[in-house]
């Protein structure tokens, strides 16, 4: 059984999160999951949430902290995610907050994702250069429930996006 951090420890761990030290995207994702498992279920206070979403936080930092809390099932962040979904300008971050809301059971999150995908498929002007991998990322990283998986599968089929990533074998060092 995982021994959770105290609420205070969890708070500080979140504030200092930088990802796994193996310096890879996969490690980054793994580190988020590991930290999420250590965070206690006890809800954070509004004061603590204010710190999490305001103190020394850039947009990606905030999104990362929120993602970890969503993975830990902390639905008290929903109001913050909702606000940030509206405040952020970058599609990657908007999609992340929408996925968080959806993962936490907020239907508007699903709806936002559906609307976005339709716009993407219509190749609307501001999405012409959107990298569909970003959408895949938010599903794989955040919206991981069954409904989310089905939604992602459907999106990929419609977009005919099935990259099936494999790791490139590297030669020996010189």
């Amino acid at each position: 059984m995982t021994k959770h951090y105290s609420n205070k420890d969890a708070l500080h761990a979140l504030l200092n999160f930088l990802g796994d030290a193996d310096d890879s995207g996969s490690g980054f994702s793994r580190a988020m999951n590991e930290l999420a498992e250590l965070i206690p279920a006890e809800p954070f206070s509004k004061q603590q949430l204010d710190v999490i979403f305001q103190q020394n936080a850039g947009p990606t930092t905030r999104a990362t902290r929120a993602t970890i809390l969503v993975k830990a099932g902390h639905s008290e962040i929903l109001p913050y995610a909702n606000n940030l979904l509206k405040e952020e300008n970058h599609w990657n971050l908007k999609l992340s907050y929408a996925a968080m809301m959806a993962q936490l059971g907020d239907e508007s999150g699903y709806q936002f994702l559906e609307d976005f995908f339709k716009r993407y498929m219509r190749k609307e002007e501001d999405l012409k250069h959107f990298d569909l991998e970003e959408l895949v990322y938010v599903f794989e990283e955040i919206l991981i429930n069954e409904r989310g998986k089905a939604m992602l599968a459907r999106f990929c089929d419609e977009a005919d996006y099935h990259p099936d990533w494999q790791e490139l074998e590297q030669p020996d060092l010189p």
Binding site: A13, L18, G19, S24, F28, E141, D164, E167
Partner: protein, 681 residues
């Protein structure tokens, strides 16, 4: 008569000497008889040798002066002792001698002479110190036998037989060679006497030949002594020459050393002059003295130089050397801040350095508690600085400086109220308080005060100490913090509602103690880590149309290999070569996985790079160079980030600022050039 006795003794002496020398020449080990002979000779020469002739002529050898045969066939033989031996050949009974007084006088004169030459050699042989009385007894017996021979001659009416009168050489020979008492019965006729004389003459010839050998041996011995003397003299001359030469060399060496010492002294003196800003050559006519600056000093350099000179003066005249050491340490820390470009930190530390330097001069009353606390804080500041907690180090410097004001009784409320008391309280267990008149003084913290100070410090450091305490301690957080945790937890446990934080901090402290040993940074990159750095972690879609970077890739070689496989739209959107050879590369989103892009963005927001940006090591760097940088970072890298997943350490290696990621097990996972080269954060 005495003269004749003396001559007889000479003959006997010659015989004994002959025996001795023959024995010596033949290598015969000296026995009792030879010892007696040597002793006799010694006595003879020292007491009554009246006819001594020094040199290579045996002084007691009789000389054959006639050896002819007459018409009847009778042989005529006569001997004489050398003339310088006195009237040895004349006179009969020694007691009748007419020249007794003369010989006595001669003997007395010779007795004044110290034996030299061969006699000295003979005398030197007498090293055993034998019984002289025994030798005298032998001589008395010998004289008795001689007297008996003379008596036999008179009984046989030997007058008319040449050489057989009492003073004849024949009688002398009998006296010398001894006389067999049994011969008294055999010398009954004139024929017997003639045969005996013939026998004695033949024996004398043989003896003469032996004497020649003695002379030859003596000459050889003398020559040997002279050679030895010459060799000794030559050796002495050589020794004197060598000593003189050695003395000259020593003198030259001494002059050289003195010259060097003088030069060294002058050089140091010059340096001291320079340190004080004085001209060591002032007043001299040496136009070449003093280095000329190629450019005027900047205001910063001038200020640094001025402060250094001031501190040098203070160090020389310090009363408290510990305070002086701290002053020097803070000055060095200030330099480090200046190099980082953090002028605010520079000001704090330099002012602390000056405060410590001036405090070291104080000779009046001081508050020893405050002095000690200030010194503790200076140590803590250094420790915190070395662990990358520069802000906390600055706070410690500020408090330490304030404490010195307290210690020197110059502090007033207005000057010290704005100090981070939690640093003081947590690290030293002291706190500042005020008299009703506003005078500041130092007192011990209450347990609760110190406990809250620790808690505040923990929170104030951005959670580094508490939230990720194991790693923070692994990075070497000052041990005083840990001790304070433990001490104060015990003190305040259950004392107040706010004590819960101490329970938590002690739990952290225990976790630190448990895990700290394995958190020591190690130097070896794993094979995975090496490939990660060199080639990166590349994900390829099944149709090979999409190639994305999921991590790593910090070399030109790796980038070329990636671009060779990636679609053209994945080419970097910007590349910037820095002066030290590090290249900054920014990729489009299509070149990165979503996770990698998110990770890089997060790192950029934390100050470790730029969104979608990567840095490449200089093209000449090899895997070994990178490995060396990692090793260096593990030893002396500055901790720039600590999380529960590991730590980042920054190190300057071969002109490149490198960041190394260490996992929570202390092992290096990755390394890459920092985005801001040469700018320590």
């Amino acid at each position: 008569m005495k003269s004749k006795n003396s001559n007889s003794k000479r003959i006997i002496s010659a015989g004994l000497a002959l025996v001795l020398l023959i024995n010596t020449a033949c290598g015969v080990r000296p026995g009792r008889s030879s010892t007696i002979v040597r002793s006799f000779l010694l006595e003879r020469y020292l007491q009554d040798d009246a006819g001594t002739v020094r040199g290579d002529v045996n002084p007691i050898e009789p000389v054959l002066v006639d050896n002819s045969t007459d018409s009847d066939g009778n042989q005529s033989i006569s001997f004489e002792v050398p003339e310088h031996s006195g009237a040895a050949a004349s006179g009969g009974n020694s007691s009748d001698s007419d020249d007794e007084n003369e010989n006595d006088t001669q003997d007395d004169a010779d007795e004044q002479n110290i034996p030299r030459g061969l006699p000295r050699i003979y005398a030197e042989l007498n090293i055993e110190g034998e019984n002289l009385e025994q030798q005298r007894e032998y001589l008395r017996g010998h004289a008795q036998r001689l007297a008996e021979a003379r008596e036999a001659c008179r009984a046989l009416n030997c007058e008319g037989i040449p050489g057989l009168d009492q003073a004849s050489p024949g009688a002398i020979r009998v006296g010398r060679d001894g006389f067999d008492p049994s011969s008294r019965n055999t010398l009954k006729t004139k024929e017997d006497v003639l045969k005996e004389i013939e026998r004695l003459e033949n024996a004398l010839k043989a003896q003469r030949a032996e004497w020649e050998k003695i002379r030859a041996a003596a000459r050889e011995k003398k020559a040997q002594v002279e050679r030895e003397h010459q060799e000794i003299a030559a050796s002495v001359v050589r020794a004197i020459d060598e000593a003189e030469k050695s003395a000259q060399e020593n003198n030259a060496l001494s002059e050289s050393i003195q010259s060097e010492l003088i030069q060294n002294h002058n050089s140091k003196t010059e340096n001291i002059y320079k340190e004080f800003g004085l001209d060591p050559h002032q007043g001299s006519n040496d136009a070449n003295s003093g280095a000329q600056l190629s450019r005027p000093a900047t205001p910063y350099e001038a200020e640094v130089e001025r402060l250094k000179q001031a501190n040098t003066l203070l160090r020389i005249t310090s009363v408290n050397t510990e305070l002086n050491d701290s002053a020097l340490m803070f000055a060095e820390m200030a330099d480090a801040s200046a190099r980082r470009g953090n002028l605010e930190s520079y000001d704090i530390r330099l002012s602390a350095a000056r405060a410590f330097a001036w405090a070291s001069q104080h000779k009046g009353n001081t508050d020893e508690n405050a002095i000690k606390a200030a010194l503790d804080l200076s140590v803590g500041a250094k420790s915190l600085e070395s662990q990358g907690m520069s802000q906390l180090a600055d706070d410690s410097a500020r408090v330490a400086k304030t404490l010195l004001q307290v210690a020197l009784d110059v502090a007033r409320l207005s000057k010290v109220i704005d100090v981070p008391l939690n640093v003081l309280e947590a690290f030293s267990g002291k706190t500042l308080d005020f008299t009703p008149e506003g005078q500041v003084f130092l007192r011990d913290c209450s347990a609760l005060e110190r406990g809250f100070a620790i808690g505040s410090l923990v929170l104030g450091t951005g959670g580094v100490l508490l939230g990720a305490a194991p790693m923070a301690i692994a990075a070497g957080v000052a041990s005083k913090v840990l001790n304070a945790f433990k001490e104060q937890s015990a003190a305040v446990h259950g004392a107040a509602a706010g004590a819960r934080i101490f329970d938590e901090t002690v739990a952290v402290a225990r976790e630190i103690e448990r895990t700290a040993p394995k958190l020591m940074a190690e130097a070896t990159l794993t094979a995975y880590g090496k490939k990660h750095i060199w080639f990166g972690e590349i994900r390829v879609s099944q149709d090979k149309l999409k190639v994305r970077i999921d991590g790593g890739l910090h070399t030109h070689d790796g980038l070329q290999k990636y671009l060779a496989q990636a679609p053209v739209e994945n080419a970097p959107v910007s590349r910037e070569m820095l002066p030290n050879g590090v290249e900054r590369v920014v990729f489009p989103e299509s070149a990165l996985t979503g996770r990698e892009a998110r990770k890089l963005s997060l790192a950029a927001e934390k100050g470790f790079g730029k969104a979608n940006g990567k840095t490449l090591f200089p093209s000449h760097w090899t895997p070994e160079t990178i490995e060396n940088a990692v090793r260096k970072a593990s030893i002396e890298g500055k901790v720039v980030s600590v999380t529960d997943k590991g730590s980042k350490r920054e190190v300057l290696h071969e002109g490149i600022t490198v960041i190394v990621n260490f996992g929570k097990d202390g092992r290096p996972k990755s390394a890459f050039p920092s985005w801001n080269q040469g700018e320590f954060k």
